[in-house]
């Protein structure tokens, strides 16, 4: 159970910056694919029906193209989550759990959606999602709509927004109506 949901939640790992270029899905993907990685700050806000007020967590994200994504949460509790290739590792309060994405195909589809966006891998995205791009090169938003019913049971929509080649916001709409928004800071050079 821990592993299943853990893997599901890896989708909450979010985006990082990317240099920008031309316009259209093709160009956006190409620009994103040029991104070799970097370190950014994040603030994530979760809205849950269960709670009277949203809850917040913050920390740093590290992306190493094309397959490694780290989320280092500082608040409210120090916690580290590392997605590398097929492996997802969560360390929290002195305990570490490792799962393989292959064991959890639906979760893998979700995680791959974010990682594939960061890597500009359009083919991988289109395997599971219908893509909808809006806005312009300077201010764009990419909606991922799950085509796979197994994925749709968890998530109804993922919206990634950015400026040029930088992903600045990841919004996940869960199937149960809860929602999370992750705002991503400027890359630190």
């Amino acid at each position: 159970m821990i592993r299943r949901l853990l893997a599901t939640l890896a989708l909450l790992l979010a985006a990082s910056p990317a240099p920008a270029a031309g316009w259209g899905l093709e160009q956006l993907m190409a620009t994103l694919a040029d991104n070799r990685g970097g370190r950014v700050s994040f603030v994530e806000t979760r809205y849950m029906a269960l709670l009277d007020a949203p809850i917040e967590s913050s920390g740093e994200l590290v992306y190493v193209a094309p397959a490694r994504l780290e989320r280092h949460t500082v608040k409210p509790r120090p916690e580290t989550m590392v997605l590398d290739g097929d492996t997802l590792k969560l360390s929290r309060e002195g305990q570490a759990h490792t799962v393989r994405l292959r064991d959890y195909p639906e979760a893998a589809a979700l995680i791959d959606s974010i990682r594939a966006t960061l890597a500009g891998d359009r083919a991988a995205l289109e395997k599971t999602y219908a893509l909808k791009l809006s806005g312009n090169a300077e201010r764009w938003a990419l909606d991922l709509l799950p085509a796979d019913p197994a994925v749709a049971r968890l998530v109804s929509r993922i919206r990634l927004a950015g400026n040029g080649g930088e992903v600045r916001e990841v919004e996940i709409f869960q199937a149960d109506g809860d929602r999370s928004v992750m705002r991503i800071g400027k890359p630190q050079r």
Binding site: M1, I2, L5, L6, T8, L9, A10, L12, L13, E44, R46, M48, L50, L51, D52, A53, P54, I55, E56, S57, R71, T73, P76, R77, E79, M81, L90, R92, Q95, H97, R100, R102, D103, P105, D178
Partner: protein, 796 residues
């Protein structure tokens, strides 16, 4: 059969028949066993007793790991599913797990329903206003974590996070991965994995064999729905202690019967060539058969039960018993009176007995049984040869004249004396080899005795690694007057074991009390929950200012109240969960109470080894109250591998000392009977040289010596002493007929034992590779060392 009219013959036959009848009656009433008890010392320490019990009955002994290979993933998964389903319906299996979530839901439901009785965090402070607020805050923080979705569905019923705490405690053991079809697979995805637990103990080899047959049948049925090609591509693999026992028994059985058949054919052919009389051939087998009966009867009387191991090695007696008949027929069959050479055989018998009597003292019942068997067997075989065979020998029996052969042998022996310098040279070289290799000479690991082939061990290692299956090498054991007392004792060790984990001495530990806490602990935990009204009040205070309002937590108040009124958890209430298995494996009922086993996980950082001294010290300081100690005894730390290796190493060490003692006794007896140190020297030198050269040869060939090599050396002395005594009895070379009889005796011994040397079973191989060459070398060295100057004076 006119010779039967001779009164002496009738008397001898009557006595022999009576003897055989008595022996057969004793043998028929003896108990035979093949279990691990043979390794239990006569006066075992508590650790040793536990060790043997674990090896025989422990959970690990009942584990069968199954792999399904070949075909495609879909076919493997379907087969795994169907195989598991049919085995789950088979009462021979206590549990069947292939990764399907059959038990998972039942387990999680049971854990969730009983979370307040199970959670170690349940103290009065935990459910105070402050404690509740801390717990709520923790839950909120967890909801903000990437893993928070885990907790979300449970928050209104379990806002203090007891379930998450329980799961974290349980999630420490490794498990294989599931493939996209929902069953366990190996990391490379090419093998579907299953873990089975038999109801029968691992020591019940017949039951293990039946279980394996059931798995095979179920596998064939499970792959039947596949197309013939897809089904045929699938392959079943099994491993585990029970599987090893079954396979070992099969290997030993087939090897023993194959080698015994071959050896018998060889020996019988040889004897027929010499005797040219089927009657005499049959007569020559009588001492061996009578001796074997006597050996079994003696062990049955002395030990109560006869171990299969003893039978196996005891039959090697054939070597010595057949020799007696050969001496009689070859030396006596040519008209020579038995009185003339019997004293030499009698002395040989005495020295053999001296060698084997030393084994009586062994603390290792297997070795002691072998000693008793051998002494009784060869004594009766010699007596049968002496008093029955001459009486039964047909008067018309005349052996073909072996004198020409004997002359040629004499010439050869005389020529070989020119090589006498070779004996000291070889002996000194052998000594040098043994001194150089002395540290690596003996293999003191019990595994060295295992007949399990390397390929099977590799498969076992691989499946075990994939499964993350426990090897349960380290255990802490506590006893109690009943199950609840044992659980209390286990609970009392928790702080000590937790401290050891924090120090890094352990990676983790498990306990039956984790799944089934003692009554007192359950009551204490539930007593921490106040009544509903009070809990609601405290919750309201605790939740003030938090985004999680108390008004949403009505399900929590209901369930907490229900928990207070629930009857205590029992083992019976766990039925249908896989957790019941865990409890069964770790909580055993013993003859006078109950015993809890707490498996320890070794830290990977320390090469998967636990520092035994640190654990023992910590356990000793655990500070159990005097009354508890009196009732439960000290908690015992057990390292199964170390314990079993130490046990075997102890046996080996003792056996070496006893053998040296036996050798001293042999020399003493020779001195007593021969009175001439020179003659004693001539009888002993070839044997010492042969034993040393064989050992050095084995060491050079890279073979590490085990206990059975030592038994082989004793056999060299027992068998070889007859040869050397015949040489030493005369002041020159023995007469040609004696020489011929010695050659025949050596040939039968070498064909009998030499075949054992090609066996894949280490224990058989060890005896064969020692005795075969050893017997040959003894005879050759005897010839080389015989006084050369007298050769010319041999009678024509």
């Amino acid at each position: 059969m006119s010779w039967l009219r001779r009164p002496r013959a009738r008397l001898a036959l009557a006595v022999w028949i009576a003897l055989v009848a008595v022996l057969a009656a004793i043998v028929a009433r003896s108990h035979f066993t093949a279990d691990m008890s043979v390794f239990l010392p006569r006066e075992p320490t508590p650790e040793q007793r536990l060790l043997v019990e674990q090896l025989r009955e422990g959970m690990v002994s009942r584990l069968i790991l199954v792999g399904v290979e070949g075909g495609d993933a879909q076919a493997r998964a379907e087969t795994s599913r169907r195989l598991a389903a049919s085995l789950r319906a088979d009462t021979r299996f206590a549990s069947v797990n292939n990764g399907e979530t059959t038990h998972l839901q039942a387990d999680q439901r049971w854990l969730f329903d009983n979370r307040y009785a199970l959670s170690p965090r349940m103290t009065p402070a935990h459910f105070s206003e402050a404690g509740l607020r801390t717990a709520l805050q923790d839950t909120l923080d967890f909801l903000a974590s990437p893993a928070g979705l885990l907790a979300k569905p449970l928050v209104t019923r379990d806002p203090t996070g007891e379930m998450m705490g329980l799961l974290q405690g349980l999630a420490s053991g490794g498990q294989p991965q599931r493939d996209e079809h929902g069953v366990w697979t190996s990391r490379d995805g090419d093998t579907a994995l299953l873990v089975l637990l038999t109801r029968a103990s691992g020591a019940d080899i017949d039951a293990q064999e039946a279980a394996m047959a059931a798995v095979r049948a179920a596998f064939d049925a499970a792959r039947a729905p596949q197309s013939p090609i897809a089904g045929g591509a699938l392959k079943l693999e099994m491993t585990g202690p029970g599987v090893f026992s079954v396979e070992s028994r099969d290997t030993i059985k087939s090897e023993v019967s194959r080698i015994a058949t071959l050896g018998t054919v060889l020996v019988v052919t040889l004897l027929l060539l010499v005797y040219r009389s089927p009657t005499v051939l049959l007569l020559s087998l009588l001492p061996m058969i009578t001796g074997a009966l006597a050996g079994i009867a003696a062990v049955g009387l002395g030990f109560g039960t006869v171990h299969g191991l003893t039978l196996g090695f005891g039959t090697t007696l054939i070597g010595e018993a057949v020799d007696y008949a050969i001496y009689l027929f070859v030396q006596g069959g040519s008209g020579r009176e038995i009185r003339q050479f019997w004293p030499t055989i009698r002395l040989g018998l005495l020295t053999s007995i001296a060698g084997f009597v030393a084994l009586f003292l062994s603390g290792f019942p297997g070795l002691a049984q072998l000693g008793v068997y051998s002494v009784a067997g060869i004594t009766v075989a010699a007596l049968t040869t002496r008093y029955l065979l001459p009486a039964l020998l047909p008067e018309s029996f005349r052996l073909r004249d072996v004198t020409p052969l004997g002359r040629r042998l004499a010439a050869l022996a005389a020529a070989s004396t020119r090589l006498r310098w070779l004996v000291p040279v070889l002996t000194i070289a052998a000594l040098a080899v043994l001194v150089v290799k002395r540290d690596n000479l003996w293999n003191s690991e019990l595994l060295a005795l295992s007949p399990v082939p390397a390929a099977a061990l590799e498969l076992d290692l691989r499946l075990r690694a994939e499964m993350g299956a426990p090897d349960s090498r380290y255990l802490v054991v506590v006893n109690g007057a009943d199950a609840d007392a044992a659980l209390r004792a286990a609970e009392r060790l928790a702080p000590t074991l937790d401290a050891l984990r924090e120090q890094g001495v352990l990676d983790g530990w498990d306990s039956p009390a984790r799944y089934l806490p003692s009554l007192a602990t359950q009551q204490a935990r539930l007593a921490a929950i106040p009544d509903r009204t009070e809990l609601e009040r405290r919750l309201n205070v605790a939740a003030t200012g938090l985004p999680l309002s108390a008004s949403r937590l009505t399900p929590f108040l209901d369930e907490a109240e229900a928990a207070r009124n629930r009857p205590p958890l029992t083992r019976a209430g766990m039925e249908g969960t896989s957790l019941s298995m865990a409890v069964d494996a770790m909580l055993l009922s013993t003859g006078h109470g109950a015993r809890a086993l707490l498996p320890l996980r070794a830290p990977a950082a320390n090469g998967h080894v636990v520092d035994a001294a640190k654990v023992r010290t910590a356990l000793a300081q655990a500070g159990m109250a005097q009354a508890e100690l009196a009732q439960a005894g000290e908690p015992l730390f057990l390292d199964l591998k170390h314990e079993s290796d130490a046990l075997y190493a102890g046996y080996l060490d003792e056996a070496i000392k006893l053998s040296l003692g036996g050798a001293a006794a042999v020399v003493l007896i020779l001195l007593l009977f021969q009175r001439s140190p020179r003659q004693v020297w001539r009888a002993c030198a070839p044997l010492v040289a042969a034993v040393l050269v064989v050992c050095a040869g084995l060491a050079l060939a890279g073979e590490q010596l085990i206990l059975l090599h030592l038994v082989g050396m004793l056999l060299i002395v027992a068998v070889g002493s007859n040869y050397t005594l015949f040489f030493a009895a005369e002041d020159g070379l023995p007469d040609p007929r004696t020489l011929a009889s010695l050659l025949f005796a050596t040939l039968t011994t070498v064909s009998g034992f030499g075949l054992l040397a090609i066996s894949q079973v280490p224990v058989l191989h060890a005896i064969g590779i020692t005795v075969g060459p050893g017997a040959l070398l003894s005879l050759a060295f005897c010839a080389m060392l015989s006084p050369a100057r007298r050769v010319g004076e041999q009678p024509a």
